[in-house]
Subunit: 353 residues, 4 copies
């Protein structure tokens, strides 16, 4: 179903940027789990706007309210409904774009598809939808607490974190506002974003996600391969343009002799170009993947565009927009990864007698 994430553990969502609230329903969350609500709010806080000088200055408290499925601190096994109220809707801000088709936004495609759209703040196409995903993913993490899921910003524009992930200390990711665990690179990234912001411009980048301690066996042979489920989830993030896991696009330049991961006698592998997945199923090695994000389409500078009648207009973003989505996308990537893995973890329990 194309409004749900997950196969057994599922998330269905609703919400628009300037409606009263976002929210969702998580189905098949197992009963009896002590739910750490603070951990969920912490993940939401990592995603929320207004955290630092390099993200949007919009203020939203992004407080989640759970409406069902949790009783006296424990999950009851029944659907978990939740909402996050929108607080900071300034609908007047958007009157000027009611008829406008902003470049590289979804205004035109929504009009074509639906014949109507909530134009305020991007409506349904707003990335604010991801607030739902963080709630659900943070819940999902609690099903698989031993999995270590760490995403970080691995590039901003042409500035890349050159170290292999094995040389990074993920406990430092939150130490800087760009969420790159390599301090020197982080500083350059922050400088770059500030510079870009000053120009009213925006910039893209990549996020790398590393997942340790996943047992072998997760993923399904056909149409439910672990990498396909991850790719689907990640490519639903608003600005995502690409996904690769393990050797990725580099692997396409290699020979089999170079690329094959030879076994150790303990069933680990000497190398891990496979990215922890063989035949769509986890093999117990680290799972790692990378997601490419395009630069934000809203610029704080004038751009020529057209309105819905084909008239030439000038559009210009006002006030509170992200010059770079990467820092705030880190918890989103982690949350989606957690949800995909928890879903496949549960399913895998039923796959042999």
């Amino acid at each position: 179903m194309h409004n749900a994430l997950g196969n057994f553990l599922t998330l269905t969502t609703f919400g628009e940027s300037h409606g009263p609230a976002y929210g969702g329903i998580v189905t098949n969350f197992p009963a009896g789990l002590v739910v750490d609500l603070d951990a969920i709010q912490r993940d939401l806080d990592r995603r929320k706007p207004g955290q630092s000088a390099i993200v949007t200055q919009r203020k939203e408290s992004d407080t989640v309210k759970f409406l069902s499925g949790i009783f006296e601190g424990k999950s009851t096994g029944t659907p978990i409904g939740f909402i996050i109220e929108n607080e900071n809707q300034k609908s007047k801000d958007y009157a000027h774009i009611a008829q406008a088709y902003r470049p590289s936004h979804a205004d035109f495609t929504y009009d074509q598809k639906f014949g109507i759209r909530d134009y305020r703040g991007g409506g349904k196409s707003s990335a604010r939808e991801t607030v739902n995903w963080v709630v659900a993913g943070s819940l999902a993490k609690q099903i698989v607490p031993t999995f270590e899921i760490n995403a970080f910003v691995s590039s901003v524009g042409d500035i890349f974190c050159e170290k292999p992930y094995q040389d990074l200390d993920f406990s430092k990711t939150e130490d800087n506002i760009v969420r790159c665990p390599d301090e020197a690179t982080a500083e350059r990234m922050i400088e770059k974003i500030k510079e870009i912001k000053k120009e009213g411009n925006t910039i893209g980048g990549t996020i790398t996600c590393v997942i340790k301690n996943v047992p072998a066996g997760l993923g399904e042979p056909v149409f439910g391969k672990l990498q396909a489920e991850l790719a689907k989830a990640m490519m639903n993030i608003n600005a995502a343009k690409g996904f690769e896991y393990g050797s990725g696009f580099c692997g396409a330049r290699m020979t089999g002799k170079e690329h094959n991961d030879l076994f150790n006698p303990d069933f680990t592998t000497k190398t891990n170009l496979s990215g922890g997945i063989q035949g769509g199923i986890s093999n117990g090695m680290d799972i790692y993947f990378r997601v490419a994000f395009k630069p934000v389409a809203t610029l704080l500078r004038p751009q020529e565009s057209i309105d819905k009648y084909g008239n030439t207009i000038i559009v210009e973003g006002k006030g509170r927009h992200d010059p770079c989505v990467l820092p705030r996308a880190v918890p989103i990537v982690e949350s989606l990864a957690a949800f995909v893995l928890a879903d496949l973890f549960l399913i895998n329990k039923l796959r042999k007698i």
Copy 2:
């Protein structure tokens, strides 16, 4: 459901490399369509082994038999069941690998997941499963006959087709055995594959797919974005390691000013870094994406590995394997793209009154 492709138009499949047959069921194929069975067989022939010197020399006729859903040449709207019988199973060939865990194969992960596996020819993990997808995708093409779906080999190892796709003549893709429409590049690719084959080695590469004439409106806002559905389908192909669309990973290095696609007054865009998709929904421009494939894991040369008990063994591929999957993957990519698009095309018909 993790054994199905598609949301409304769906494909469910079965089959193992050395079982009696592959097959599948296509549900919700619309009634009343004159089905071109020859076109389907032609697509199967493009995928089948034994076509040329640079692919596996195994022989399979890969003849599809339709068992339901088509009556007097027309679709009846009821489920279309089909099978492709396996002809060339030499199970004895595989006795030597019953206990072996081949490097970068799914032997170990299947054993971990299921505790049992059909080890003959890779069993369920064999890429022969894609024969089902070609049947279904070729059927799906007939739902959207005006969409022009052209995939081609855009790189083999370090040899890239450097021309932008706009400069290529897709009618030439089938003119050479590697399926690259640029003849000069094709020759170099073929040379490279022959050389690699001689060494008993294998090589990776990329396939680019371009889809023209897709109307605006296909794709769903959340969890059903067009790029996510494409990514999911492509990342289920056995050797796929990465997916990008439009500007892809290059887009992650750009600024918003460079990346935004400005509108023309007729609602087309001056550039198309978006790859024909905005907000998860097609905008009428060309859709294009690229899939990375790792080199085939089976080498015709000895590799050190282990068996299921952790003993060191030597594995060596015998006889009939692809040195490079790219040429045969071209129709697979096209078929999956067709299926995804036909599914979203049907769904889109219901999205406004």
Copy 3:
């Protein structure tokens, strides 16, 4: 998915009797429809407690808030999220049953299944969940406004409405508090319920639903037969014990010669024992079915029971319970029928080219 109603048009829900709110998400509601919010509230008011002397005296305003998917009075095609806040939770009322297993309630089965349950007011097993269904069904009615869906109470205990439905005037259903359009029968039913209520007892009954103006073609051949979709929806209502359509259980006593519905030259049929459905697909004749409801399990009189440790206890309902669910179930039956039909109506649009 076992927390969703519908195949294409879907409803996912959440909520417990004494949590903060009920709610749900309707996916794939078509864009561009002017949504009549008053009509939805009217249906909710028909279901709500406290309407008359023969239903529970509990007070809930049951006001629905739409949180997304409707903009400037029209559906936008995006998911419609809604909540109904619970107002009248007196959780203290239920402390005495935290450990109790009430007869013919779900206390024991929930504990067995989940190992934990929200015991307040039945928690997830409360029929208050149906408030969600009325919202969704009332929305669905607006997709198929020409379908005339009329349910009514056709029996209470041994008091049956003996007239064939063709002799009833459905405009009179709302004229009495028991919702039987035959005034004389209604009076007897009301008397019966009052008498039963005085004893602290409860009583069962049946609801008949008649649907006119459904075009031929709705329903899918296998596993999606119209009668099966209706049965599934109805048998999910909390007290439902049986479902029959057309001739139903009476038809099982007949011969083919008696039962066959012969055609008129205009493709209508002379009789309609088929209940408007042939081969799982509507034929344009009236669809009618009947649902059996058991008596409410909560009695306002002492019953012997056990607690979760197997100790004998006395349970006794306090205060505000329905002596008979039938009157309030009428809008629930209509809503579910509307949802099922709207779903199949949309699907049917795609089933031929």
Copy 4:
């Protein structure tokens, strides 16, 4: 998805009466189970035509071929594909009905829905589809081998098996050709069917199914209630007109005081009007339900009808039709019940930590 049975364990099917074969795919069957193929064929033999004097004399061997998912006698966890070839298609028999709309058949509705239909032997609307369900259900039984699932013919026309099911010896069901375990009643039923057959007429009846040894906990709270899943499955059987469980329609005439099932200290209940289900979840008591079947629509005597142009015609069944579907429907009811229960059994394993 409306071409699938089950939520986690799923069956997708295809096939038409006079096509080359029926078949299906069972997904998520657990790995490692020794599959008893003979037991499956025995169930098929119980359903097949030509078994006795009171069913159709058509001959079909109904031999199932498994094409995947079973290796060296054990399930591998991968999709189980199977086909049953049609042997006895006499398409010429049906030429006379190509344009005919037979009374109470699906000819008219299929034409309305799809604009085309395979008219041979009812095509997709033929009850021969149930051959697929018996294969899948018989497989499913092997997931839950301790569940005792016994269906039997409880009425034919006005002849009812009056004994409560507790007084019946299910080991005798197969001792007579009508499949009623009460020998005296069986004889009367057989007489009745023979008499009806002589007249070229047909007759309806009911099947009761009793399931013992089901643990508490199966079924999901909302939209996945055990009774709703059973009802949906049963109401998909071609001639089914009604479904009731536990007290069923009789329960609708009772008061709460009569109907409530009081607990014993060991958590069993003194009575079982609930039919083994509370709040949609099994409680460990016997599950029992009853399905009503209408008389077969095909009569071996002339009936007035119309053709697709509205012309009056005479239709008359030829040769080989069931005068009463009940005896052959017994294994179908059992198979569907087994499939529903095995699906919910697997799901239930994941519902608490």
